[in-house]
């Protein structure tokens, strides 16, 4: 009898939620276990990298890869799994668009090290030790994978066949993907397993023509549960976010944060938000416009929360500083030139 298709699951730079999400398909997981030969899943089964390296190229039928690429190790595994897999799936927002780990692209390696090993309030590191790529101990040299300035998405490192959006992906889409793979009815390579509309399409809230006079943060108002949050001045990324989650966040009075990434064909979700939100601000003079925008602090954080690493610019500019490269966001909030009034 022909061997069962071989499945691998890997976890790079991510929170682990995606691993849980795979299990969240509940009893279907048994079908998966029955249908596939699980050849590599470090979180669940005790396989080693060497086991994968020993496989023939293309031997793995499908790899579900979650997590962004932020270290040399992540990249190495991505390359290895790419080589060994027929189908490589970027599973979840981190692998697909960088997601929360990608927010590190607002900063730089040095900054991250400083915070994580020195400045974070929970750190207890009296000697000020930092992990080093190489450490010499009496037994020899220990190495750690290098840590990059810039978090990358899986497809910035190796070619990817399919994408499964979401932070984490909803079970029904994992299921759909698994079923498609099992049945052999695969969409064209490069496809995203999901919908081609935005969250608003799944959101039952009633919406009106938009005119935003100011933005509110969630703690500032109690929104009307039936009306569109954006209409009420609560920033909702649902307008520019791929549907698929069933409008989870708006259904609990919280603006969508954009975890499914931008809609089909959109290369820069943040720019789409800037355009849409900018369009519906109800202000005409430079001063009025700035006043409205002052109620929306940290626009880049909002608009690129999940997609910074996969956006057009990908990160905050780096400036060379004594041999290091430091991310240099501008301190000052730009204001429009009042002369633009006429």
């Amino acid at each position: 009898m022909s061997a069962k298709p071989k499945l691998a699951v890997y976890w790079a730079s991510s929170c682990g939620g995606c691993e849980i999400a795979i299990l969240a398909i509940h009893e279907k997981i048994l079908d998966v276990a029955a249908a596939f030969d699980l050849v590599f899943w470090p979180c669940v089964l005790d396989f080693k990298k060497a086991d994968v390296a020993a496989m023939a190229d293309g031997e793995i039928d499908v790899t579900l890869f979650n997590g962004a690429i932020r270290t040399e190790e992540n990249a190495e595994m991505a390359h290895l799994l790419r080589k060994k897999s027929k189908v490589l799936v970027a599973y979840g927002s981190c692998a697909m668009e960088g997601c929360i780990p990608g927010l590190a692209n607002f900063a730089d390696r040095k900054h991250m090290m400083q915070y994580i090993y020195h400045d974070a309030p929970t750190v207890d590191n009296p000697e000020g030790v930092e992990p080093q790529p190489q450490t010499t101990v009496p037994e020899g040299t220990l190495t750690l994978p290098a840590y990059w300035d810039t978090v990358k998405t899986l497809d910035q490192v190796v070619p990817v066949d399919y994408y499964l959006p979401g932070c984490p992906p909803e079970a029904k889409w994992t299921q759909a993907a698994v079923e498609a793979i099992m049945s052999g009815q695969l969409p064209p390579p490069g496809s995203v397993i999901g919908m081609d509309v935005t969250v608003c399409d799944e959101c039952p809230r009633e919406r009106e023509e938009k005119k935003i006079k100011r933005f509110y943060r969630p703690q500032e108002i109690i929104p009307d549960p039936n009306k569109c949050l954006l209409d009420q001045g609560l920033l909702c990324m649902g307008i520019a976010t791929r549907a698929g989650c069933g409008a989870l966040c708006p259904s609990v009075n919280m603006g969508c944060r954009g975890c499914y990434g931008p809609n089909v064909d959109v290369v820069d979700g943040g720019a789409r938000m800037i355009s849409a939100i900018g369009s519906v601000i109800d202000a005409k003079t430079p001063e009025e416009i700035d006043a409205v925008l002052d109620t929306l602090p940290d626009p880049a954080g909002y608009f690129y929360r999940f997609g910074l690493a996969h956006s057009m610019l990908r990160r905050t500019a780096l400036v060379r500083e004594n041999g290091d490269r430091r991310a240099q966001p501008l301190e000052e909030v730009p204001h429009l030139d009042p002369k633009l009034k006429t």
Binding site: G278, A283, L313
Partner: protein, 161 residues
């Protein structure tokens, strides 16, 4: 060619490259008029005609920066003069939000500017290009792709960035 290293040595023998988005009805014609009037300005601007600044998708701006432009200049009709009534107000709001967002990404607002010129203001058009060129020249070149180059220690040869 003009020597931009006087503004910022990083230019070497390069000149700034600015992508322009000019609305069909006012600023594109202002640029035409600057031409017909032989008003000289630095050859830094490479422009794109759009029907109205309302067509300006911020994606175009980030695309231009990403592809190596040192700045982006958006020009339209004066407020109240847009051929489509209010496209320029929308452009103003989008640019304001874009500038704020880009500042967090380290892009100086002088690199993404908005200005107005009516079809009769070839002179204003010329001056705007000159001024913007000088501002961008002071800021220095912006090769965005350099930001994506990885310099972590022990980087293996051939690891793509």
């Amino acid at each position: 060619m003009a020597d931009y290293s006087q503004f910022n040595p990083a230019w070497g023998d390069r000149a700034p490259v600015i992508i322009g988005f000019l609305c069909n009805w006012c600023s594109y014609r202002a640029a035409d008029l600057a031409g017909t009037s032989r008003f000289g300005y630095p050859a830094t601007l490479r422009d794109i005609r759009i029907m109205c600044t309302g067509r300006l998708d911020p994606t175009f701006v980030v695309k231009a920066l990403r592809e190596g432009a040192d700045g982006v200049l958006v020009m339209g009709c004066h407020p109240g003069q847009c051929h489509y009534e209010e496209g320029n107000y929308k452009a103003m709001r989008r640019i304001a939000l874009l500038q704020r967002t880009l500042a967090q990404l380290g892009v100086h607002p002088d690199r993404v500017q908005l200005a107005w010129a009516s079809a009769a203001q070839g002179g204003i058009f010329t001056e705007t290009v000159k001024e913007m060129t000088e501002k961008v020249a002071r800021l220095g070149p912006m090769q965005w792709r350099d930001n994506l180059e990885e310099t972590a220690p022990h980087q293996e040869e051939g690891v793509p960035l």
